[in-house]
Symmetry: C2
Subunit: 148 residues, 2 copies
Protein backbone atom coordinates (compact mmCIF):
# COMPACT_ATOMS: atom_id res chain seq x y z
CA UNK A 1 0.00 0.00 0.00
CA UNK A 2 1.05 3.61 -0.36
CA UNK A 3 1.45 6.31 2.23
CA UNK A 4 -2.08 7.67 2.14
CA UNK A 5 -3.69 4.31 2.76
CA UNK A 6 -1.17 3.41 5.45
CA UNK A 7 -1.78 6.67 7.27
CA UNK A 8 -5.54 6.35 6.97
CA UNK A 9 -5.53 2.81 8.33
CA UNK A 10 -3.48 3.96 11.30
CA UNK A 11 -5.63 7.01 11.92
CA UNK A 12 -2.95 9.53 11.10
CA UNK A 13 -1.68 11.58 8.16
CA UNK A 14 0.85 11.09 5.38
CA UNK A 15 2.74 14.08 6.75
CA UNK A 16 3.18 12.36 10.11
CA UNK A 17 4.39 9.18 8.43
CA UNK A 18 7.01 11.10 6.46
CA UNK A 19 8.03 12.80 9.66
CA UNK A 20 8.52 9.45 11.39
CA UNK A 21 10.62 8.32 8.45
CA UNK A 22 12.74 11.46 8.72
CA UNK A 23 13.34 10.63 12.37
CA UNK A 24 14.63 7.18 11.44
CA UNK A 25 11.55 5.30 12.56
CA UNK A 26 9.51 3.60 9.86
CA UNK A 27 11.75 3.60 6.76
CA UNK A 28 10.01 2.96 3.45
CA UNK A 29 10.58 0.98 0.29
CA UNK A 30 9.94 2.72 -3.01
CA UNK A 31 8.10 1.55 -6.11
CA UNK A 32 9.07 2.27 -9.71
CA UNK A 33 7.65 5.79 -9.50
CA UNK A 34 9.53 6.69 -6.35
CA UNK A 35 6.39 6.35 -4.26
CA UNK A 36 6.73 4.94 -0.76
CA UNK A 37 5.27 1.48 -0.35
CA UNK A 38 4.36 -0.28 2.87
CA UNK A 39 3.13 -3.68 4.03
CA UNK A 40 1.18 -4.96 7.01
CA UNK A 41 4.26 -5.07 9.19
CA UNK A 42 4.78 -1.35 8.61
CA UNK A 43 1.18 -0.78 9.57
CA UNK A 44 1.80 -2.58 12.84
CA UNK A 45 4.86 -0.43 13.47
CA UNK A 46 2.92 2.73 12.75
CA UNK A 47 0.06 1.70 14.99
CA UNK A 48 2.55 1.01 17.76
CA UNK A 49 3.94 4.51 17.36
CA UNK A 50 0.49 6.06 17.35
CA UNK A 51 -0.65 4.18 20.43
CA UNK A 52 2.39 5.30 22.38
CA UNK A 53 2.02 8.86 21.09
CA UNK A 54 -1.56 8.84 22.29
CA UNK A 55 -0.23 7.83 25.70
CA UNK A 56 1.89 10.96 25.63
CA UNK A 57 5.19 9.24 24.83
CA UNK A 58 7.70 11.32 22.94
CA UNK A 59 8.71 10.01 19.54
CA UNK A 60 12.14 9.01 20.79
CA UNK A 61 10.52 6.95 23.49
CA UNK A 62 8.75 4.87 20.87
CA UNK A 63 12.03 3.88 19.24
CA UNK A 64 12.74 0.85 21.44
CA UNK A 65 9.27 -0.51 20.70
CA UNK A 66 9.70 -0.03 16.98
CA UNK A 67 13.15 -1.61 16.96
CA UNK A 68 11.85 -4.48 19.02
CA UNK A 69 9.12 -5.19 16.49
CA UNK A 70 11.53 -4.83 13.59
CA UNK A 71 13.85 -7.32 15.29
CA UNK A 72 11.11 -9.86 14.84
CA UNK A 73 9.68 -9.92 18.34
CA UNK A 74 5.94 -10.53 18.63
CA UNK A 75 5.15 -7.26 20.40
CA UNK A 76 6.80 -3.89 20.67
CA UNK A 77 7.13 -4.37 24.39
CA UNK A 78 8.74 -7.81 24.18
CA UNK A 79 12.17 -6.29 24.76
CA UNK A 80 13.72 -5.05 28.00
CA UNK A 81 14.44 -1.61 26.57
CA UNK A 82 10.71 -1.12 26.00
CA UNK A 83 9.91 -2.23 29.54
CA UNK A 84 12.44 0.29 30.81
CA UNK A 85 10.56 3.01 28.92
CA UNK A 86 7.28 1.86 30.47
CA UNK A 87 8.78 2.07 33.95
CA UNK A 88 10.32 5.45 33.36
CA UNK A 89 7.01 6.70 32.03
CA UNK A 90 5.17 5.43 35.07
CA UNK A 91 7.57 7.34 37.30
CA UNK A 92 7.13 10.47 35.22
CA UNK A 93 3.36 10.12 35.32
CA UNK A 94 3.37 9.65 39.08
CA UNK A 95 5.55 12.70 39.55
CA UNK A 96 3.43 14.80 37.22
CA UNK A 97 0.14 13.69 38.75
CA UNK A 98 1.53 14.50 42.18
CA UNK A 99 2.56 17.99 41.08
CA UNK A 100 -0.78 18.63 39.46
CA UNK A 101 -2.64 17.54 42.54
CA UNK A 102 -0.52 19.86 44.65
CA UNK A 103 -1.25 22.73 42.30
CA UNK A 104 -4.92 21.84 42.31
CA UNK A 105 -4.96 21.98 46.10
CA UNK A 106 -3.25 25.35 46.15
CA UNK A 107 -5.57 26.82 43.53
CA UNK A 108 -8.60 25.47 45.36
CA UNK A 109 -7.29 27.05 48.54
CA UNK A 110 -6.81 30.38 46.82
CA UNK A 111 -10.31 30.21 45.38
CA UNK A 112 -12.01 29.47 48.67
CA UNK A 113 -9.96 32.14 50.41
CA UNK A 114 -10.87 34.71 47.77
CA UNK A 115 -14.54 33.71 47.85
CA UNK A 116 -14.52 34.07 51.60
CA UNK A 117 -13.03 37.53 51.33
CA UNK A 118 -15.70 38.58 48.87
CA UNK A 119 -18.44 37.22 51.11
CA UNK A 120 -17.12 39.23 54.01
CA UNK A 121 -16.90 42.31 51.85
CA UNK A 122 -20.49 41.87 50.75
CA UNK A 123 -21.56 41.43 54.37
CA UNK A 124 -19.77 44.63 55.40
CA UNK A 125 -21.43 46.46 52.54
CA UNK A 126 -24.83 45.50 54.01
CA UNK A 127 -24.01 46.87 57.45
CA UNK A 128 -25.62 50.29 57.89
CA UNK A 129 -22.86 52.81 57.80
CA UNK A 130 -20.40 50.17 56.58
CA UNK A 131 -17.64 50.86 54.07
CA UNK A 132 -18.47 51.45 50.47
CA UNK A 133 -17.85 48.32 48.33
CA UNK A 134 -14.33 48.22 47.02
CA UNK A 135 -14.94 45.50 44.43
CA UNK A 136 -17.66 45.26 41.88
CA UNK A 137 -19.53 42.01 42.35
CA UNK A 138 -20.63 41.51 38.78
CA UNK A 139 -18.43 39.48 36.44
CA UNK A 140 -16.66 41.36 33.71
CA UNK A 141 -18.05 40.56 30.30
CA UNK A 142 -16.70 42.88 27.62
CA UNK A 143 -15.38 46.06 29.20
CA UNK A 144 -14.42 47.54 25.84
CA UNK A 145 -11.14 49.37 25.78
CA UNK A 146 -8.76 46.78 27.22
CA UNK A 147 -7.47 45.32 24.01
CA UNK A 148 -3.79 45.58 23.17
Amino acid sequence: MRIGELAGRAGTTARAVRYYESRGLLPARRDAHGHRTYDERDLKLLREIRTLQDFGFELEETRPFVECLRAGHPEGDSCPASLAVYRRKLDELDALIGELRAVRARVAGQLSRAEQARTELAAEALVPGGPEPRCELVPEQAPGGQER
Copy 2:
Protein backbone atom coordinates in the same frame (compact mmCIF):
# COMPACT_ATOMS: atom_id res chain seq x y z
CA MET B 1 13.89 50.64 40.67
CA ARG B 2 15.02 49.47 37.26
CA ILE B 3 14.26 46.31 35.38
CA GLY B 4 17.15 44.21 36.67
CA GLU B 5 16.34 44.80 40.30
CA LEU B 6 12.63 44.28 39.73
CA ALA B 7 13.24 40.99 37.97
CA GLY B 8 15.69 39.83 40.62
CA ARG B 9 13.29 40.61 43.46
CA ALA B 10 10.58 38.63 41.71
CA GLY B 11 12.85 35.71 40.93
CA THR B 12 12.75 36.14 37.18
CA THR B 13 14.71 37.85 34.40
CA ALA B 14 14.68 41.22 32.70
CA ARG B 15 13.88 39.44 29.46
CA ALA B 16 10.72 37.98 30.94
CA VAL B 17 9.66 41.37 32.26
CA ARG B 18 10.09 42.94 28.83
CA TYR B 19 8.10 40.08 27.37
CA TYR B 20 5.24 40.71 29.79
CA GLU B 21 5.30 44.35 28.83
CA SER B 22 5.15 43.43 25.15
CA ARG B 23 2.05 41.35 25.94
CA GLY B 24 0.35 44.35 27.49
CA LEU B 25 0.78 43.21 31.08
CA LEU B 26 3.09 45.27 33.27
CA PRO B 27 3.66 48.54 31.33
CA ALA B 28 6.61 50.64 32.46
CA ARG B 29 7.43 54.27 33.10
CA ARG B 30 10.70 55.59 31.72
CA ASP B 31 13.36 57.74 33.33
CA ALA B 32 15.35 60.50 31.64
CA HIS B 33 17.63 57.95 29.98
CA GLY B 34 14.81 55.91 28.55
CA HIS B 35 15.32 53.20 31.16
CA ARG B 36 12.25 51.44 32.50
CA THR B 37 11.44 52.29 36.11
CA TYR B 38 9.18 50.39 38.50
CA ASP B 39 7.78 50.76 41.99
CA GLU B 40 6.54 48.38 44.67
CA ARG B 41 3.15 48.06 43.05
CA ASP B 42 4.78 46.81 39.86
CA LEU B 43 6.69 44.30 41.95
CA LYS B 44 3.43 43.01 43.36
CA LEU B 45 2.00 42.71 39.84
CA LEU B 46 5.06 40.83 38.67
CA ARG B 47 4.98 38.48 41.64
CA GLU B 48 1.34 37.79 40.94
CA ILE B 49 2.19 36.88 37.37
CA ARG B 50 5.07 34.64 38.47
CA THR B 51 3.00 32.83 41.07
CA LEU B 52 0.30 32.04 38.55
CA GLN B 53 2.86 31.04 35.95
CA ASP B 54 4.36 28.64 38.47
CA PHE B 55 0.89 27.16 38.87
CA GLY B 56 0.92 26.47 35.15
CA PHE B 57 -1.38 29.33 34.15
CA GLU B 58 -0.86 30.73 30.70
CA LEU B 59 0.11 34.39 30.49
CA GLU B 60 -3.30 35.38 29.16
CA GLU B 61 -4.88 33.74 32.18
CA THR B 62 -2.96 36.04 34.48
CA ARG B 63 -4.42 39.13 32.84
CA PRO B 64 -7.58 39.35 34.97
CA PHE B 65 -5.47 39.16 38.12
CA VAL B 66 -3.15 41.89 36.93
CA GLU B 67 -5.99 44.16 35.85
CA CYS B 68 -7.71 43.55 39.16
CA LEU B 69 -4.64 44.69 41.07
CA ARG B 70 -4.16 47.67 38.79
CA ALA B 71 -7.79 48.62 39.38
CA GLY B 72 -6.85 49.13 43.00
CA HIS B 73 -8.21 45.95 44.52
CA PRO B 74 -6.29 44.51 47.44
CA GLU B 75 -5.52 41.15 45.80
CA GLY B 76 -5.31 39.90 42.25
CA ASP B 77 -8.14 37.49 42.94
CA SER B 78 -10.47 40.08 44.44
CA CYS B 79 -12.38 40.31 41.18
CA PRO B 80 -14.91 37.88 39.71
CA ALA B 81 -12.99 37.49 36.48
CA SER B 82 -10.07 36.10 38.46
CA LEU B 83 -12.31 33.69 40.33
CA ALA B 84 -13.66 32.50 37.00
CA VAL B 85 -10.11 31.73 35.90
CA TYR B 86 -9.52 29.80 39.12
CA ARG B 87 -12.61 27.72 38.54
CA ARG B 88 -11.79 27.07 34.92
CA LYS B 89 -8.29 26.03 35.93
CA LEU B 90 -9.63 23.64 38.55
CA ASP B 91 -11.79 22.01 35.90
CA GLU B 92 -8.85 21.76 33.54
CA LEU B 93 -6.67 20.28 36.26
CA ASP B 94 -9.30 17.73 37.17
CA ALA B 95 -9.70 16.72 33.56
CA LEU B 96 -5.96 16.49 33.02
CA ILE B 97 -5.34 14.54 36.20
CA GLY B 98 -8.10 12.16 35.21
CA GLU B 99 -6.58 11.61 31.78
CA LEU B 100 -3.14 11.07 33.22
CA ARG B 101 -4.42 8.55 35.71
CA ALA B 102 -6.17 6.67 32.93
CA VAL B 103 -2.96 6.65 30.90
CA ARG B 104 -1.02 5.53 33.95
CA ALA B 105 -3.39 2.62 34.43
CA ARG B 106 -3.10 1.58 30.80
CA VAL B 107 0.69 1.79 30.82
CA ALA B 108 0.85 -0.16 34.07
CA GLY B 109 -1.38 -2.79 32.51
CA GLN B 110 0.82 -3.03 29.45
CA LEU B 111 3.90 -3.34 31.63
CA SER B 112 2.55 -6.14 33.78
CA ARG B 113 1.24 -7.96 30.71
CA ALA B 114 4.60 -7.69 28.97
CA GLU B 115 6.47 -8.79 32.11
CA GLN B 116 4.18 -11.77 32.41
CA ALA B 117 4.85 -12.73 28.80
CA ARG B 118 8.59 -12.54 29.38
CA THR B 119 8.33 -14.67 32.51
CA GLU B 120 6.47 -17.31 30.58
CA LEU B 121 9.00 -17.22 27.80
CA ALA B 122 11.82 -17.65 30.30
CA ALA B 123 10.03 -20.60 31.84
CA GLU B 124 9.59 -22.26 28.46
CA ALA B 125 13.27 -21.74 27.76
CA LEU B 126 14.11 -23.77 30.86
CA VAL B 127 11.99 -26.75 29.81
CA PRO B 128 14.28 -29.45 28.36
CA GLY B 129 13.63 -29.55 24.67
CA GLY B 130 11.67 -26.32 24.87
CA PRO B 131 11.75 -23.62 22.21
CA GLU B 132 14.83 -21.53 21.75
CA PRO B 133 14.44 -18.10 23.37
CA ARG B 134 13.01 -15.57 20.99
CA CYS B 135 13.91 -12.53 23.05
CA GLU B 136 17.19 -11.62 24.58
CA LEU B 137 16.73 -11.14 28.31
CA VAL B 138 19.57 -8.70 28.86
CA PRO B 139 18.87 -5.01 28.65
CA GLU B 140 20.33 -3.15 25.70
CA GLN B 141 23.09 -0.80 26.79
CA ALA B 142 24.99 0.58 23.84
CA PRO B 143 24.54 -1.70 20.85
CA GLY B 144 26.78 0.44 18.65
CA GLY B 145 25.38 1.34 15.29
CA GLN B 146 21.96 2.60 16.30
CA GLU B 147 22.73 6.27 16.43
CA ARG B 148 20.87 8.78 14.23
